[in-house]
Symmetry: none
Subunit: 401 residues, 2 copies
């Protein structure tokens, strides 16, 4: 019996409420000058207070040493085994912009990019063109029909877009055209199984036509596609946990991911304050809230230690508005670590704090990587977070007689 | 997807180097007089310094409470599930002396031993006869043909040898003749499945002939056989990790084990200094080094607390020559505990330290069992050591989008 089966069997509906605050890329590495991580550097009295009243620990998103992408790390936090529900990037992006994926649709993540006269990629993000420009270029490409397959080309944000292929005889097992580096030409898309040959041909033809259409639109004079995929259908959080869950996330991919596991995705703004305001406005209508803070991860990926510190402080500042709602369970953690020193996701375990009336507090006196080592939750896989939150909300029956 | 599949999927070749230093039987138990374990008693400034700069923890070779043999504990350290790759002792010994095992060959580990006039074992190791004597007696037995099956009898070291059975219709599911105690007669070898009856008969016949041949050669007047087995074929470390791995081990079994997972086994001496010199000489030619220190385990098995302490100090003394090579990742641990107090392998978890530029140091101030409890690695299965070493060497891609 896997985790979800067990939850399905013992979860019960109740009036208690859970808030899961995910500070993306929360975990860090010490700044060589100070010996302190981003979280340890931040002035965060409210998080520290919760850590004192609550119970702390460290979570492994997948397993020790494994650096996760955002999709598997969030699935793990929701207790879905990320190795069995491998969700493609194209599907995630499509869901994030509310694109209504139909059975059989294949979605790919696209970048507008810059190529030089020799056709070599010089900028994978076309100088991060504005969302307005992206929308304009998508309109030039949207609605093509190639070999009877209809193509939807829709803007996401900045240089990012999606292409959805709708038609008969398509399978998603094709390679990416995005070479993930500059100085080389985009790759030809290749079928990895015979059944995917038709999609490979159509995708290559689309790219050829896009190149012609975009030729005059430097720096966005080419497209890169990756993550061709079809939507999986995991059981919803309503089915598994008997929760009425809502997601508050400004960045499309996380909205898509939340929708995939059956959360209601709420309209919100892009600032942390707006996200917390959305929580307050909708607090009476749901019993589980996933709040996603993107800025910490972006700052970590940019190698901007200080900005990551400031965003953690901003979250801490907004926290009293969450606490004043008196949720029965508050969990604060990250989906993975994004140390500014590494400028990317990493394998390091992530601090977690859980506060509830029933949490059996430990002696941890602050919310930090080094203090959480000594926390009462110990070190545990991310897939155990939801069972713990559910238990602390008294939403789980006893297992067995 | 198991550990090896995951590693195979996300590992990438790179220029960084990993050194895995295995101090066999490292973990211990406190001396009742001092309250300190062997490791805690040793003067080991270099190991302590690495522990301060690095991250520490405790590993379970198999799982809590399980005392492993040397083969499963090493397989686990290399991230091979020791329950799926169960490697017989005979195969390990054969590989350790470079015996070219062919498909279908069955190898058994042998001891020359002493029996009294009643046929009862008085010394399972025949007074640890010299390797020269062992070689001489093996020659007396080598090359027999029994029921069309050819027997190879080859010396290993001191009283140890191997017997390899080559022929048709053989299966390895037979019991040992070694009773693992003195005062009793060697056991008759019994087939555990019908298909293994032919091997059982042939092995018993071999033992009978050996008894006759050896009658005049007291103390080596009998043989004991155990660990009848066939070579498995796990994927190599090159395939799994995209490493070019080398092993530095003086004791045959560990050389065999390293060869089994595809390491290049380097020529080396029997002293710790010689092993470290071999590392230095070969440092440029490989990107992963497994260094095996045998003396600690032997001292533990002999119940010699002080000798185990001295060997740990000897390792510590040699350590600067390793550190001066500046490997990207240094891991120091043991394959299992061998407390001198227990005179044998034990189930106690084993201290581990990992040092790399990216290791997120903890507050552990010395390398010891009691300090490692509070380490940032927490307590983890030995199979997670390689993923962590690979991650710290930046040799793993992100998993998922």
């Amino acid at each position: 019996m896997d985790n979800l089966d067990l939850m399905k069997q013992i979860s019960i509906p109740s009036l208690t409420k859970i808030v899961l605050l995910v500070i993306d890329g929360l975990g860090g590495l010490p700044n060589p000058k100070t010996g302190k991580t981003e979280l340890e550097t931040a002035n965060k009295p409210n998080l520290d207070q919760l850590a004192i009243k609550g119970i702390c620990g460290l979570i492994d998103p997948l397993s020790p040493g494994i650096t996760p992408g955002s999709a598997p790390s969030h699935l793990a936090l929701f207790s879905y085994d990320p190795l069995s529900f491998n969700i493609g990037r194209g599907v995630l992006e499509a869901m994030g912009i509310d694109f209504d994926l139909q059975p059989g649709d294949i979605a790919a993540r696209g970048n507008f990019c810059t190529v030089d006269e020799a056709g070599l990629v010089t900028d994978r993000r076309a100088g991060r063109i504005s969302t307005e420009k992206c929308t304009e270029f998508c309109q030039l490409l949207d609605g093509l029909v190639i070999e009877g397959v209809k193509l939807f080309v829709c803007p996401v944000r900045e240089h990012r877009f999606i292409t959805v292929f709708r038609g008969k005889g398509l399978a998603p097992e094709v390679s990416d055209s995005d070479p993930q580096q500059v100085g080389v030409a985009p790759r030809a898309i290749v079928a990895q199984h015979a059944i995917a040959r038709r999609l490979a041909n159509i995708a290559n033809e689309f790219i050829a036509q896009a190149k012609t259409v975009l030729a005059k639109h430097h720096p966005a004079n080419m497209v890169l596609l990756r993550g061709f995929s079809q939507r999986p259908h995991p059981p919803t959080m309503g089915e598994v946990y008997k929760l009425k869950p809502a997601a508050i996330a400004s960045y499309p991919m996380y909205r898509g991911l939340a929708r995939l596991v059956g959360m209601q995705v709420l309209e919100t703004g892009t600032s942390i304050k707006e996200e917390f305001a959305t929580l307050k406005q909708n607090y009476n209508n749901y019993d589980f809230f996933f709040i996603h803070i993107k800025g910490t991860d972006s700052a970590g990926e940019d190698g901007d230690f200080d900005r990551k510190v400031r965003i953690i402080e901003e979250v801490d500042n907004a926290l009293p508005s969450l606490i004043s709602l008196k949720p029965d369970v508050i969990v604060v953690t990250g989906d993975h670590s994004t140390p500014a020193l590494l400028k990317g996701h990493s394998w390091h375990p992530v601090p977690i704090l859980l506060y509830s009336r029933w949490c059996r507090p430990d002696r941890v006196g602050e919310f930090s990587e080094s203090a959480c080592i000594f926390g009462g939750l110990g070190r545990l896989p991310a897939t155990q977070v939801m069972p713990l939150a559910m238990a602390n909300a008294l939403k789980l029956n006893k297992f067995g007689a």
